[in-house]
């Protein structure tokens, strides 16, 4: 990690982040670099909103941290710094004290209730 800007030198792009990189690459070297950043930011905001819908059931929240990482928090002040969705779930399981399973009937009910309401 760079000590000045907190940016990791990430060699590994998680598969859920790949589409942004691909889109930037497809638009070629002449493309506006600002567009890539806006696209990326938009995607991160969208992902944060959606992820929080799921995390609510476990009393957790995730926030974008200056566009480079995400901060995951529980209600007791516990925090974890995470890089992408791949590292979110283990960190969330640690904070929640139980595994987060999309097949869990409790979560399914909570999401369906939010949908109906």
């Amino acid at each position: 990690m760079c000590v000045l800007c907190g940016q990791d030198f990430v060699a590994q792009v998680h598969w859920t982040d790949r589409h942004i990189e691909d889109r930037a690459r497809a638009s070629g070297p002449a493309a506006d670099p600002g567009e890539y950043q806006r696209d990326r930011r938009r995607d991160r905001v969208h992902r944060t909103v959606l992820t929080n819908e799921v995390l609510r059931h476990y009393g957790l929240r995730v926030e974008d941290w200056s566009g480079s990482k995400y901060v995951l928090r529980d209600r007791k002040g516990g925090t974890e710094l995470i890089q992408h969705l791949g590292s979110l779930w283990p960190a969330a399981a640690k904070l929640a004290g139980r595994p987060l399973d999309p097949l869990d009937p409790g979560l399914r009910e909570a999401l369906s209730a939010a949908h109906d309401g």
């Binding site: 060699a11 992902r47 959606l50 819908e53 399981a93 999309p102 097949l103 399914r108 999401l111 949908h115």
Partner: protein
């Protein structure tokens, strides 16, 4: 790069020996784990000792095969220095007991290899004579079948034709997304074998093998084919699927599909256990059918659970999951 896997004695080496004698395969390098009784004669043959490095998480499929990294880097080096003729393809033959997932993981995560190699095919050989026995007794062979893009049924010359007829539907039921080919004593159409999906992409699902109902269950493994009633939100799907893989990754043997994300072309999704191929955006659909289609092959997870969970996520996904009826046609060649 092609990964050839298959249970002990299922004819991997015989098949390779046959295939490598084709002139079109001259610029192919071969990595094998062991020199078997059937000698392979090829100028780019390398032997690698299976050396695995288990990562902190302790999950078997997320292990790095250091031997493979070393061997592939060496090949790359020789190729780029011009010491060997230009490499077209690398074939990796696994041991009979190997799980193919770590090989994929190694290639997708290595900082150098991921930019130079891509896996176009996983080929699995199944012995027509002992296939049923292997599938009954060995979870490894089940994983190998589930991981396959193409399945080659070998030894059809010495097997009873009734056994072969029984085996083909069983393989199709375990892995409806794989194409099944038959080979007697390694005799197989090389072009057909190494040609990736019609799109030049590795992950276009073939139309599922004839089964009048959409939910397939073979003992503990299940497969379900799903579509959605509209375009889905790729970010939401990423959240759902990464969560599923974290919680139940070892029970998700395979996932393969095309997803309509509201753009001109679909996203190709292909995963073996935790290991997801880099998702690919296509510029257009491969055929007339522009609906999402995705096949999940699972162990211990019932199809209703997958559908129920996707249904609960429908507000985030932006579309409702619908079990997909498979066509009554057989896509066997």
């Amino acid at each position: 790069m092609t990964v050839v896997t298959g249970f002990l004695g299922s004819g991997k080496t015989t098949l390779l020996g046959r295939v490598l004698s084709e002139p079109s395969m001259t610029n192919t390098a071969v990595l094998v784990n062991e020199f078997g009784e059937v000698g392979l004669d090829h100028h780019l043959l390398r032997r690698v000792d299976e050396r695995t490095v288990l990562l902190g998480s302790g999950c078997v499929c997320c292990t790095t095969r250091e031997d493979l990294v070393g061997a592939l880097l060496e090949l790359l080096d020789m190729d780029q220095r011009g010491k060997i003729p230009r490499l077209d393809r690398v074939v990796i033959e696994t041991t009979g007991l190997a799980d193919p997932a770590p090989i994929l993981y190694t290639i997708f995560t290595d900082p150098v290899l991921q930019h130079h190699f891509s896996v176009d095919l996983v080929l699995t050989t199944v012995d027509a004579v002992n296939g049923h026995l292997h599938l009954d007794r060995n979870p490894e062979s089940l994983k190998q079948v589930a991981a396959a893009d193409k399945i080659v049924v070998t030894k059809t010359d010495i097997a009873e034709s009734s056994t072969v007829r029984g085996l083909l539907p069983r393989l199709g039921t375990i892995n409806p997304s794989a194409r099944i080919l038959e080979a007697a004593f390694g005799e197989v159409d090389v072009d057909e074998l190494f040609r990736p999906g019609e799109m030049g992409s590795h992950a276009v699902p073939e139309s599922p093998v004839a089964e009048p109902h959409e939910l397939h269950d073979v003992g503990e493994t299940h497969s379900v084919s799903v579509t959605f009633d509209g375009p889905i939100d790729w970010t939401a799907f990423g959240i759902w699927f990464s969560m599923l893989l974290h919680a139940r990754g070892e029970d998700v043997l395979r996932v393969k599909g095309l997803l309509d994300v509201g753009e001109a072309g679909p996203i190709v999704l292909n995963g073996v256990q935790h290991i997801i191929h880099p998702p690919e955006h296509l510029d257009g659909w491969p055929d007339e059918d522009h609906d999402s289609r995705i096949i999940f092959i699972t162990k211990r997870i019932r199809p209703e659970e997958i559908l129920g969970s996707l249904d609960a996520f429908q507000k985030l996904l932006g579309a409702r999951p619908v079990p997909r009826r498979t066509e009554h046609s057989v896509s066997l060649p």
